[in-house]
């Protein structure tokens, strides 16, 4: 059973899981310190250097809280709901590539867990399951605030999935493949005007804007956090949750933010690549560094290089998420629906038709 391919897939899964699990504490810290500096405050800075251990304190608090089951709640669904969103967000990394094909110990394989032609389709299918966590939590809590949050979540996420999907499709057109590895390769090997890398952000700025807005709505972040709007619904779908189940909701939300950011980086910003730098050469250089050269082969060095680049781009996106959260006020529910259906969807279709026409004309 333990063929080299399986070992490689397991190793890559481990790398992804490590990165995704660590998104939550890092974001918990960043989400307090970053807005604090924007507002000329200090933020939590007492626990450890720069307040870094604050995240650990938060996690400890979550663990030691009582696990409450509200009266009249639907026990089974109430317990199941946080896990659904969490697991759905933990599956989507499978098709996101973080490097070119590498050779380690004589075996050549691509640096993506599942290298399939239907990669993007799988991503969309798996991420569309995440909404069940929110809806079931809203239904099973036996509370009007939760129910309203669940209703809003279902309508909002299904609506914005359309704009998201169509803008993603437009980003796939230039490379002509649903395999994200091909998408990245296309962005590396083509050049615009002779010097710009052919990142889709330069050819489809409108598509990227739609993607970004829809990603905010899909992850229920401000200014679209209607399902948990604290000034209207207490805490929306997770009003009745506390302790570790609440933490699962947080982790699911941060993970889906991170994975959508990685997708945005892959589709619009060249994924794991850096302009002018060849990933294989960088990998060989990393592997030849004095302390690590005994353990690392050039292939593993390339993997680490690609993954670090992808993570840097992902965290840039995540910073934008935080930045926007503390900049824009929340939308009203009818404004949200109007934006999704009457502005974003037509714009996304327009963008798609324009990109397709350019592709047919052979311009991209």
């Amino acid at each position: 059973m333990l063929t080299p391919t399986v070992v490689a897939a397991l190793a890559m899964t481990g790398l992804w899981l490590f990165a995704l699990i660590n998104v939550t504490p890092i974001m918990l810290w960043l989400e307090r310190r970053a807005p604090a500096f924007m507002q000329d405050r200090l933020g939590p800075n007492r626990l450890g250097p720069l307040g870094l251990f604050q995240a650990i304190a938060d996690v400890l608090k979550f663990i030691f809280k009582e696990d409450v089951n509200p009266a009249g709640s639907d026990r089974l669904l109430f317990m199941l709901a946080p896990t659904v969103g969490f697991v759905a967000s933990l599956l989507t990394y499978l098709v996101v590539p973080f490097g070119p094909e590498v050779t380690v110990a004589g075996h050549t394989f691509p640096l993506v867990v599942i290298d399939t032609d239907a990669g993007m389709l799988m991503f969309l299918a798996l991420s569309s399951l995440g909404v069940y966590g929110l809806v079931l939590a809203g239904y099973s809590s036996n509370s009007k605030w939760s129910l309203m949050g669940g209703i809003r979540a279902s309508a909002q996420m299904v609506s914005y999935e359309l704009a998201l999907t169509i803008s993603v499709l437009a980003a796939l057109v230039p490379s002509g493949s649903l395999n994200l590895s091909r998408v990245v390769e296309h962005q590396i090997h083509q050049h615009l005007l002779g010097f710009l890398p052919a990142w889709n952000i330069f050819t489809q700025p409108l598509g990227f804007l739609i993607f970004l807005v829809a990603a905010f709505a899909e992850t229920n972040r401000l200014p679209f956090d209607l399902p948990e709007a604290e000034s209207e619904l207490v805490a929306g779908y997770h009003t009745e949750y506390g302790g570790l189940r609440m933490a699962l909701f947080y982790m699911g939300e941060y993970q889906s933010m991170a994975i959508l950011s990685a997708l945005g980086a892959t589709l619009y910003f060249g994924g794991w690549s850096v302009p002018m730098i060849d990933a294989n050469a960088a990998g060989a250089w990393i592997a030849s560094l004095p302390l690590v050269s005994a353990v690392l082969s050039p292939g593993i060095g390339t993997a680490l290089f690609g993954f670090s680049v992808l993570m840097v781009k992902t965290y840039t996106f995540l910073f934008v998420f935080i930045w926007v959260r503390w900049t824009f006020p929340r939308f009203r529910y009818d404004q949200l629906m109007r934006l999704g259906w009457k502005i974003l969807l037509p714009l996304a279709l327009l963008n798609f038709v324009a990109v397709a026409a350019l592709a047919v004309a052979g311009k991209i």
Binding site: L77, D117, A125, Y139, S159
Partner: protein, 190 residues
């Protein structure tokens, strides 16, 4: 190995299908249907069409059934006192019908396909490129008609679900009316 996977998926599909039909709580019914559909998607993969499996999950469980949950929660559909109708004659008749139908169809399938094997499949035939070529080549007319059908469905759904008398009102501007209408329409477009 394959037999074990098939058996597992089949048992999950049948059990959750029975729950769909017999559970009194509509939310549980919907969630069991999600399980049935996901295990059927697994069977699609076994049958060599991962494309349809992904579409099934994306469309059915990701959009249509979320819409069902939305309506169930919006209309506050209560748990029923009894799952099925209280006219017991009706239940017995329906049960007999279902069993006879199942028997007849299975007998038919067995007669026609008991020795059938998989046609040799070349690896290209389930690839996305091949499917896309067929869809936009030989099947382009049905494809366009489906597009038209979905457009009609979206318009119809948002018109039907308007608040008040749809025939009279020119501007349906209670704040949540467009929201409800458009989210119902979403199943059509996605």
């Amino acid at each position: 190995m394959l037999v074990a996977v098939f058996a597992t998926l089949a048992v999950i599909a049948i059990v959750s299908a029975i729950v769909v039909v017999l559970h009194r709580n509509p939310v549980f019914s919907t969630m069991s249907l999600v399980v049935t559909l996901v295990s059927t998607a697994g069977l699609f993969v076994l049958l060599g069409s991962p494309f349809l499996a992904a579409l099934q999950i994306l469309l059915y469980t990701g959009a249509i059934l979320v819409l069902f949950l939305f309506v169930i929660m919006l209309l506050n559909v209560q748990r029923e006192r009894t799952a099925v109708t209280r006219a017991s004659g009706m239940v017995i008749a329906a049960g007999i019908c279902a069993v006879v139908l199942a028997g007849a169809v299975i007998r038919l399938f067995w007669a026609a396909y008991s020795g059938a094997t998989f046609a040799p499949q070349n690896p290209e035939s389930s690839s996305l490129v091949t499917i896309a070529r067929e869809l936009f080549g030989a099947y382009i007319l049905p494809f366009e008609m489906i597009g038209l059908l979905l457009l009609v469905a979206v318009v119809a759904a948002s018109w039907v679900a308007q608040k008040g008398d749809p025939a009279k009102s020119d501007t349906p501007e209670a704040p949540d009316a467009p929201a409800a209408a458009s989210s119902v329409a979403s199943g059509g477009k996605s």
